[in-house]
Symmetry: C2
Subunit: 244 residues, 2 copies
């Protein structure tokens, strides 16, 4: 049976999603829990990588249960949550089609980016928001982010690894900006995002909003003249949802 998991994690203690030598990634953590339950190695396929420090409210991943397993979906979820640290939780386990693939079948993703605009970062937002105490012009922020909506070649807004993929054209369906007290939440929805792209777009919006960069300069970079370099910190980024 192929099982599709919705997994939430606090990114702070992990070296990102993707398995790596030395471990301490979310994928390694879940795979080792799966192996302990299955009594044999199990490969987990995530919808996408998240970097060190990046959070997930609902990452999606799939795996195949061992042929002889009689465990049901609820049992898999409970067994996994019984082994996993409380910083990683399986929210849902669902039966998937035999050819479902968490990464290749993903049709879109939603990310949010949290920014704390007050003078002092509340302790409960430490490692969970970008602290940006400089005065920020919300209209300039909205105007800059609006420019990114639609289909664009986002190569200038991808870190090197992502800029080397063959096709760097992505479609952003929408970017919302919401205020709640001194917390500013940017929500990006698109068919896919290049490596570090959300953090570079958030960085561009904020740099214009604090008056350190012009709207026109960002426009030129988006048009292909140059490369953007300011990456907003991982702390504020959340993978909210994967659409299929």
């Amino acid at each position: 049976m192929r099982i599709r998991l919705a997994i939430a994690y606090d990114g702070a203690p992990f070296a990102g999603w993707q398995s790596q030598a030395g471990g301490n990634t979310v994928q390694d953590t879940v795979e080792s829990a799966l192996a302990r339950i299955a009594q044999s190695p199990v490969r987990l396929h995530g919808a996408g990588r998240t970097d060190a420090g990046v959070h997930a409210l609902a990452q999606v991943a799939h795996f195949d249960t061992p042929e002889d397993s009689r465990m049901g979906l609820v049992e898999w979820r409970r067994a996994l949550n019984g082994i996993l640290p409380p910083t990683v939780r399986v929210l849902r386990a669902a039966k998937a089609a035999a050819d479902f693939h968490a990464r290749f079948d993903a049709k879109g993703k939603v990310y949010s980016y949290d920014i704390w605009t007050g003078g002092v970062l509340p302790p409960h937002l430490f490692r969970r928001a970008w602290h940006m105490p400089q005065p920020l012009d919300p209209e300039a922020l909205r105007g800059t982010l609006r420019m990114f909506v639609g289909r664009h070649d986002f190569r200038p807004f991808a870190a090197n690894r992502g800029a080397h993929v063959a096709d760097t054209v992505r479609r952003i369906k929408g970017i919302r900006v919401a205020h709640s007290g001194q917390l500013l939440r940017l929500t990006f929805e698109g068919d896919g995002f290049l490596y570090k792209m959300v953090r570079m777009l958030a960085g561009a919006g904020v740099r214009v909003a604090i008056g350190r960069e012009s709207h026109a300069a960002i426009r030129e970079i988006l048009d292909g003249a140059g490369k953007w370099t300011h990456v907003a910190p991982a702390d504020g980024l959340y993978l909210v949802r994967v659409r299929y």
Copy 2:
């Protein structure tokens, strides 16, 4: 100069507010930062103790600056936040009257208690909410908590240390119950609270709401026949505000 501080902290990494041998309390942490700035020992007086794991959105405390200090309020706040760990933040520093006392002048306190009622505790609420996945009757919860509002002898709802104080009569101005998705937030406002009292009242409300205790039994205990023993975990408790 006497300075009044508003201090927020994440209770998870600390052994409570109150200074103790072995340290690792919030008071010890702030006092050692004060001493480093003042170049001499400084005594910090808090509005009240919070237990290990209990959070504060705005604890209040006062201290006296050294006679020869020329530092202003903003400088004290900045210097403290420069030394303190990010899990403890000075939100505000204000000049207080020479006879102001954070503890003795407190007229009231507001606490909130967060309960996650969903089946799986989201990783971002780990150590920040009580996980109570059993079905919970909101009307029974409200009815039980309503009983506590007003002036009562709360001795049966205080842990031993608190029950030994001379006067165990306290007045609760109000208890609010708010839902946001699967998060339930109880907000207690009163002139003061005995040791572990908020956690015992939250525990009583929840025990009735899950059908493990009757409203009538709680009423009897409040009337002095017996002693309540279920203390809700520290994780969900927040000192929200101190009133003067």
